[in-house]
Symmetry: C2
């Protein structure tokens, strides 16, 4: 889906919810779909502050990201390093995450077989499943390479409790 099409969906959504389109909401929305990386509240705030345009306060970033999440436009991802980041959703298939414990890099992967097994487990236990979180953590390709070069790979593994 292209950007303008997504944006008009957002406008429709706001209308349906009796919410208003404001310059602040527009800026946040557009930024969220313009970037192709995960972002925190703080990061979004910094981006908007650094660029020209109507000022956006932190409070508004918090409030707007909440609206976007409820509307299914973005999704929160807990990184396991004590932070929450967001990613835009529309036009992207469901996927899970792999977080590098050294550099924080987040990679995505999909596995339909795992999804199926999850549903089976939920059923077995009598749960009606509404969502799931699968997050692998470890050391990414690049960090492994440089750690090995420096001879610190094994030590880092141990440090991470593996």
């Amino acid at each position: 889906m292209n950007e303008p099409a997504i944006e008009s969906r957002f406008e429709e959504y706001l209308k349906r919810q009796n919410l208003k389109m404001t310059p602040q909401r527009r800026r946040i929305f557009e930024k969220a779909f313009e970037v192709h990386e995960h972002f925190s509240v703080e990061r979004m705030y910094e981006w908007l502050k650094a660029e020209t345009g109507p000022a956006v306060s932190r409070a508004t970033v918090y409030r707007t990201l909440e609206v976007l999440e409820k509307g299914g436009f973005i999704e929160a991802v807990e990184t396991g390093r004590g932070e929450v980041v967001y990613e835009h959703v529309l036009g992207h298939e469901h996927h899970d995450h792999m977080v590098c414990r050294v550099c924080g890099r987040i990679e995505e992967f999909q596995d339909e077989e795992i999804e199926t097994l999850q549903r089976k487990n939920a059923e077995k236990i009598g749960f009606v499943m509404t969502g799931h979180l699968l997050r692998l953590s470890g050391i990414c390709c690049d960090c492994s390479a440089s750690l090995r070069e420096e001879g610190r790979f094994e030590a880092t593994l141990k440090e991470l409790g593996a």
Copy 2:
């Protein structure tokens, strides 16, 4: 493994790390292995305050749970409802969690097949996997039943964004 055996492991661990056994640490440790439910920092603090024994401050609970986690005696579980709870580890096999979004209840399940698939995905992407988090969320058996009785099941599902 029985309780005293686990506790002597804790003592050995402390010795190895040049840490000291204190009445506070002992109380926290014993409580963590005595209960068979997940507990938050606050809950642990309240438990100890309500029982007789050497006083334990919140700061000490925080600090001691950190020691226990680093030592591999307990594990932190992010519930996805904005809280972190702990569970003791020794004597329990690895498992994943299913969290009820209505009552907060946490169930455990194991699936070796999922574990294998996770490792395969990590490999595929060049990640050295050191850990993972799989958390299903939904509505537990009991809550489903009572919601259906009250005719609020569908509405609740929608509320949860499913």
